[in-house]
Symmetry: D2
Subunit: 338 residues, 4 copies
């Protein structure tokens, strides 16, 4: 951390800031320039609130030199982390596709879709049993019953499964049935939940909050890693901006940025990222071109009758066509899709 003093800062102000830092256990290296004094602060400043220095008299600005996160950082572990789930590797050369309905609705629906996406090349089956809905009057999901029928459908088709967790109490309910636990955008900073997920041994897909900075996304993962679970996969799913023609603005640039800052893999969810079926396809292609490690795509056998998010679910034939385009794009940049 660097504390920049104001141009007219007095000697006693400089001394007061220096002493305050020393009391907190830091070593201070002053650099007394002609116009301005700058204090270099040495020690672990990750848990020091920069603003507590900023409000001291004579301080112009406080700058962080070190990243606030640690175990998620690429400087902590320079090589890519590859997460292996029953033989499927996320973070390696293959781009892994997760597909399925927004919500698990009934047995026949999930079996039909599972068989279909498997055939088209997906490796992981997605489907929601506990649904976070903006309105209390919307369909809230089948709950544990949904998890059970999803497990059957995944097993029957040789697929691995992923589903969203909304509350600590659901961890025990999900573990027997689901391979990957997904934390939704609205819970990205539900720290109580993140702490508990640090104690599980299931891989976690951590979705970026609608207005979360990339730094905050990395910090939330730090909660899981520091709790003992190193299997975190980030997911870009669109951020909130002023634009109203799209539901969210999918931040494709988060893919190369996260991969530079962290060793952990990142996938993209164009279905939520853009929110309308006809634009899911170009955004899925863009994510692969930008280097995503995986995709999560909503597919439904009858999107017009889906109980949730039908508007962003692909028709089966659209998904097959998309998979073939994605394969060609992956090849163009030296990666593969099976």
């Amino acid at each position: 951390m660097i504390v920049v003093m104001q141009k007219g800062a007095t000697e006693s102000q400089i001394v007061h800031v220096t002493e305050t830092l020393k009391e907190l256990g830091y070593t201070v290296h002053p650099d007394r320039g002609e116009h301005q004094t700058i204090l270099g602060v040495v020690g672990d400043t990750r848990s020091l609130d920069a603003r507590s220095m900023e409000v001291l008299d004579g301080v112009a600005e406080v700058l962080r030199v070190t990243e606030p996160y640690k175990m998620v950082s690429r400087s902590f572990k320079p090589s890519d982390t590859v997460i292996d789930i029953k033989g499927i590797q996320i973070g390696g050369p293959e781009v892994i596709v997760m597909a399925g309905p927004c919500s698990i609705e009934n047995e026949s629906q999930i079996h039909t879709i599972a068989a279909f996406v498997k055939k088209a090349g997906a490796k992981i089956l997605r489907g929601g049993a506990f649904k976070p809905r903006t309105s209390p009057y919307s369909f809230q999901g089948l709950g544990v019953e949904g998890l059970k029928i999803m497990k059957d459908a995944a097993d029957a088709n040789g697929l691995v499964s992923i589903s969203e967790i909304m509350d600590i109490a659901q961890i025990g309910q999900m573990e027997p049935y689901i391979d990957i636990l997904q934390v939704g955008a609205r819970n990205m900073q539900n720290f109580a939940l993140l702490k508990e997920l640090g104690k599980t041994r299931k891989p976690v897909v951590l979705k970026r909050g609608l207005s979360a900075t990339i730094e905050e996304l990395l910090m939330s993962a730090e909660y899981i890693l520091s709790g003992g679970n190193a299997q975190v996969i980030f997911c870009e799913r669109g951020i909130r901006t002023f634009e109203t023609y799209t539901r969210n603005t999918m931040d494709i640039s988060a893919i190369p940025v996260v991969k530079k800052r962290s060793h952990l893999p990142i996938i993209a969810d164009p279905s939520h990222g853009i929110g309308l079926r006809d634009k899911v396809i170009p955004m899925a292609r863009a994510a692969v071109a930008a280097g995503t490690d995986g995709l999560m795509i909503e597919v439904h056998n009858e999107p017009d009758k889906a109980l949730s998010d039908g508007a962003q679910s692909l028709f089966p034939e659209q998904f097959t066509q998309l998979m073939s385009e994605l394969r060609a794009i992956a090849r163009a940049i030296g990666r593969t899709i099976e």
Copy 2:
């Protein structure tokens, strides 16, 4: 809901959209204009995803006519709701001030501050025992022990108390000690928690999420009201924008907007809204001038040594001075502060 068909929409597209809506149980009133057909949809469309119509062939746009919320709406209950907590009324002519430290740190700290804010005119004591922190390496609060010493301090000074709840499991822990449960910005869409709060009989302060629209804030309250708890108080605490000179951008206009849309009271939290002590004061004044029903202000006996958010906590003497200015402003617009 109104479905606007494209200019060149075919007869069969219009029929398909109409039939789809009828199958969902709605009545459709078509208005066949010279250039364009418009379909009026009658029935409760609150739980219908507009996008599921938007993706149908021939549809140009889908417009909502009714508000998606119900029980929180002023059209549901035209008169102001006044919430009474042990004789203190929020939503009436008096502007209620809640003050205290960010975190409860120890007995002497909370007692000192409680006595002080009471004397200066605050009615409610705030203080955090479970702290949501961006970093897992930051101070996480004293937990239940903190709640106990806070209750003592509140009781000793004739104050009502408010503290933040982060997880369902904490409801039972907090109820014996705390009068008002506060849902933080990061949990505004933690729907599992909101549902449980609908079952309690404690008033809830619901803080607006950093990137939550006012409509989403109202929808989240709908979870609590529809669960059976009508004592919800909104709280504006700053939203996330592109500006970097302030921590958040406090949306003062949310105060008159919420009061027009809903019958429930709204308070403002300038300490989090702006994040730096010297600007808390003008923002607190602005909130009162704009018509807030209450304020939540962080005050600390030794802000420089606070374990969290010291930079936004007022010194005791600043708080006294502020209270006197607020009284004059409240009077200028026909309200009171004791």
Copy 3:
């Protein structure tokens, strides 16, 4: 336009709103529902400010049914517009690459870069002579002298040229030397300039403002088209969001959205969109995968010594490598790059 009356609106309020609309020359179709009256407004409401109805007593909401733009709309002209500039076609199956330095610095620089980008496959030479800089103390460009040496470099290499215009007075200065006039993000709503560009016969690249909605971008083009110049090419170059790890957030989804709403072509500028060299490459690939009609990329022979924006300029060898990846991606989605 549709005016939704409040649930409790009185008969006299409904009559007043109806009369106000009739005085303005509109026909009103009332739909008196059980709970609520809805007024359909027929006539050209593009220049009617919706808010002037919204403030009338008894009005709940005003909804626009028609797009506010006209000549840029795909419903006005359903087929794609292809703009031909000396035989180069923008908006057709080929993805056109524009490349060159941020600023024209001197004769040898622009000739070296022109020869290089031509060889690598670019069709259009970009370079700034009038530079909009946030700081008055930064390099402001070579002016007309720069345009002259740029024309020589373009001619010598069989390239078409594009450069930014900042003021009406520069139109006459640029016309003899430059083939495409570019309106920068900061001038997207400089309506005085747009009106004058409507009178020229040069194609115009209109960049999206940092915080402009897609609707506003289309409206700004309407100024040029309604003035008589139909050769407008949109350009997505990044929008401003809360994220701070990237300079801007490149809104890749604007590409499919604009192509659906308008018949005019759209290109992407990943150099400004992301602002750092190492991420320009994945974002350029993503734009092609999403369906852009062209790309504008900053390339410099010595980026480290560039007088402006060196950090986002590619090294020559990076550009060659990128062009080869882009060709493969274009092919994967059925388009071409020469």
Copy 4:
């Protein structure tokens, strides 16, 4: 400027960065810590693009220590600047109110309104003659003819006048009639215009762009001051956020922030800041409570028939009532309104 090297940066990378900085004329003070080397850069780095260092190998981050602006800064001139316009002082203890219609529509309209606002306590008459409109099909203003009738109305009522300038060519047209030139939000970074305004001797009200940071606002003023015109008044008029219930989000906190960073005065425009008549009043009150030096408020004798922005214009009797509330609030914080 401070260049933070990566943890594993090599000696040759450190030397390369150091040499690059020296070639640019800077002195470099290296601080070789245990884990990381930090380079302090001494010299005027205001015109150095931080990103050009950021892309060099081995660099982790580049931090600015000095503000990029100079003459507008409070460290350049610590005392408040008070701008005197024919005896009216902006930036002193009195809060100055500017009021009038959005557009000048005809002689009788502007005379009626001028007489009215004068009587209610306004000191400055506002009114637009050149109107920036999103749509080319909306009313574009009366032009020079409007300026003439506005001057008559101002003179007849002992008011000073302010009107918006949109293009360099209008400077000469406005100077004979108008006392204060206003730069609208869309032209805040029209640098060609700002440079010319630096050469005039008229005070300039510079409105913050819809998505401009406060830093960019200050930088734009630097163009005017460095050109020789020191009479700049800032104006907060709402920023663009994700919220859709209000037209813009008025950033009240910009008032204390600008006053801390700069010696120049700042006023607020709640009419544009919020965009709907009924919320203009609480936002005007909030701005005064937060310390604004002035207000710009749209008032119309017949808002329902206004040719532009009628929805945000106050009725005369609302304005009178507001002025009386504002006087009481100004008094509460130690300021005055006549």
